[in-house]
């Protein structure tokens, strides 16, 4: 079974490409990914909000048995990232040259990258990955 999330990825492209979420006008909750109803107060009074791509590593691992579509990357680093505005995501951590860049609490940024090719036409799915911030 080959993953085919192309349509899903397309529907979510504003969140997956540009980190677009929402701020709830009713309760002030910061929401990611973009939704129709606020998960806290269920208001539909949501404003679009682009989240900062800067954050820090909460936890990480190195994956040797890859996820479907990630075979060419294996082994690859993967982690949970908390963005500056408090929301969390998990994604591949790329451009690591030394494991010391992977300490918990280390700053990273989310960048736009190719994820995998899917579906019968081999359409490319894009999304975000994290990379270390080299000052």
């Amino acid at each position: 079974m080959k993953r085919d999330l192309i349509a899903e990825n397309w529907r979510l492209e504003k969140s997956r490409y540009a980190l677009m979420g929402n701020v709830c006008d009713n309760c002030g909750a910061k929401i990611f990914p973009r939704r129709t109803l606020c998960p806290k107060c269920h208001s539909d009074n949501l404003q679009e909000h682009i989240f900062s791509n800067r954050g820090k590593i909460i936890e990480w691992t190195r994956i040797y048995e890859p996820a479907s579509g990630f075979e060419l990357y294996a082994p690859y680093y993967f982690g949970i990232i908390e963005l500056d505005e408090g929301i969390r995501v998990s994604t591949q951590i790329t451009s690591i040259t030394d494991e010391s860049q992977l300490e918990v609490g280390k700053e990273v940024q989310l960048v736009f990258r190719k994820l995998f090719e899917g579906g019968p036409e081999g359409v490319i799915a894009y999304g975000f990955k994290a990379e270390p911030i080299i000052e």
Binding site: S90, T91, Q92, F116, K129
Partner: protein, 390 residues
């Protein structure tokens, strides 16, 4: 919480197949063996069963087969109402709870609860990895590169960081469960594991090694559940399922507060203990969801069977061994008895039944009072804890 006058149900029949690569047998064959074994053990006929509840996680993905309840009810000759219940690794544990609800409501009298999975003959390793990842959030975890072992690996790293849990302590869970499985004729792996072989086995997701993970397996386990009143005509000394609860946590692991603790398991077991008016100290032994070694350590901590942070130490100290203070996974667990995903929850119940009925042979425990089963779905977003006693 729903008002219930009583929670007790009774297991009046049970049987399971051997777990492992059952190349010659299809999913309906293994289901047939477990179901008819359970009927025979209760001296019942197929026509005595009201409903068939099938716990199964992957038949659509591995076999291209859905509507599994209807298929199995047809092929096993039960020819009754049937449904499939899916909750990843907790599928048949949830099916057991749903069956108990049907009986306690008075809506059903005798329910066959089957856990079944056929994993070995139809898939390659990377396809199994992809199938396991469907228990996570497909859009925001696995399609961004997450795998099931990767999520447990991050729990392990958080546990190691917070409590100083060691690679040796983690590996000892697998070694202990293989030792137990050596005494279980239906176990998949009866080989003795050495510490060096675990630590030198291939890394799956750092720090989880291949020999700390479950392998693909085929198997089925079935029980017949009924009310205490109906059970009187079938068993002299009933074993009761006293109560059972399901605990929830967020499916996405990144949205959980503590990576080093299984909150869903604590939620379920807190409800079980308070409902039964007991504490963790009253538990004689438990079958827990050791899908990876870290999962057993975190399960026994969340169940309150050992202090939080000391699961690894307790394992190395022998506290959870067959002759320890609180034996964990006397069957060999998911690791060594085997993990046909959908069958796991009911296979745990069968170990409980064999222990209470003095049928556990060389792994027989003495002076048992209360016993627990604990299942996980996905990376711990779903947990089921069920309590058994005489």
């Amino acid at each position: 919480m729903a008002k219930q006058l009583m929670d007790k149900t009774v297991v009046i029949g049970f049987d399971m197949t051997k777990f492992g690569d059952l190349y010659e047998l299809g999913i309906t064959d293994i289901a047939d063996l477990a179901i008819h074994g359970a009927l025979k053990s209760a001296k019942m006929n197929a026509s005595d069963i009201d409903s068939l509840y099938v716990g199964n996680a992957m038949s659509g993905q591995f076999l291209g087969q859905e509507n599994l309840g209807n298929l199995i009810a047809t092929e096993t000759g039960l020819d009754c109402e049937a449904l499939k219940i899916e909750a990843a690794g907790a599928s048949s544990a949830v099916a057991l709870r749903v069956a108990a609800h049907a009986i306690l409501s008075g809506y059903k009298e005798k329910v066959m609860v089957l856990g079944v999975e056929k994993m070995t003959s139809f898939t390659k390793m990377n396809e199994i990895q992809a199938a396991l990842a469907t228990g996570l959030d497909a859009t925001w975890e696995s399609s961004l590169g997450a795998t099931l072992p990767a999520n447990f690996a991050m729990m392990a790293r958080a546990h190691i960081r917070k409590f100083g849990t060691t690679a040796e302590q983690l590996a000892t869970v697998a070694i202990k469960n293989h030792d137990n499985a050596r005494l279980n004729p239906r176990a998949q792996y009866k080989n003795k594991l050495r510490l060096e072989s675990v630590l030198n086995s291939k890394m799956v997701a750092d720090p989880i090694h291949l020999f700390e993970s479950c392998a693909a397996s085929d198997g089925a386990a079935a029980i017949i559940l009924t009310s205490p009143e109906v059970a009187e005509s079938y068993v002299k000394e009933p074993v009761y399922m006293r109560t059972s609860f399901q605990g929830h946590d967020k499916i996405q692991m990144y949205n959980r507060e503590k990576l080093w603790f299984l909150e869903s398991v604590k939620r379920a077991s807190d409800l079980v203990y308070s409902r039964a008016n007991i504490t963790a100290k009253d538990i004689s032994f438990a079958e827990v969801h050791d899908v990876f070694t870290i999962a057993e350590i975190m399960a026994i901590e969340a169940l309150g069977l050992v202090p939080v942070g000391e699961g690894g130490k307790a394992t190395v100290d022998g506290v959870t061994s067959l002759n320890g203070e609180i034996p964990i996974n006397p069957s060999g667990g998911l690791k060594a008895r085997g993990y046909p995903i959908g069958a796991a929850g009911i296979a745990q119940v069968i170990e409980i039944m064999e222990q209470f009925n003095n049928l556990a042979g060389k792994r027989q425990l003495k002076d048992i009072n209360y016993a627990l089963t604990q299942s996980l779905g996905g990376a711990g977003g779903t947990a089921v804890v069920s309590l058994f006693s005489r």
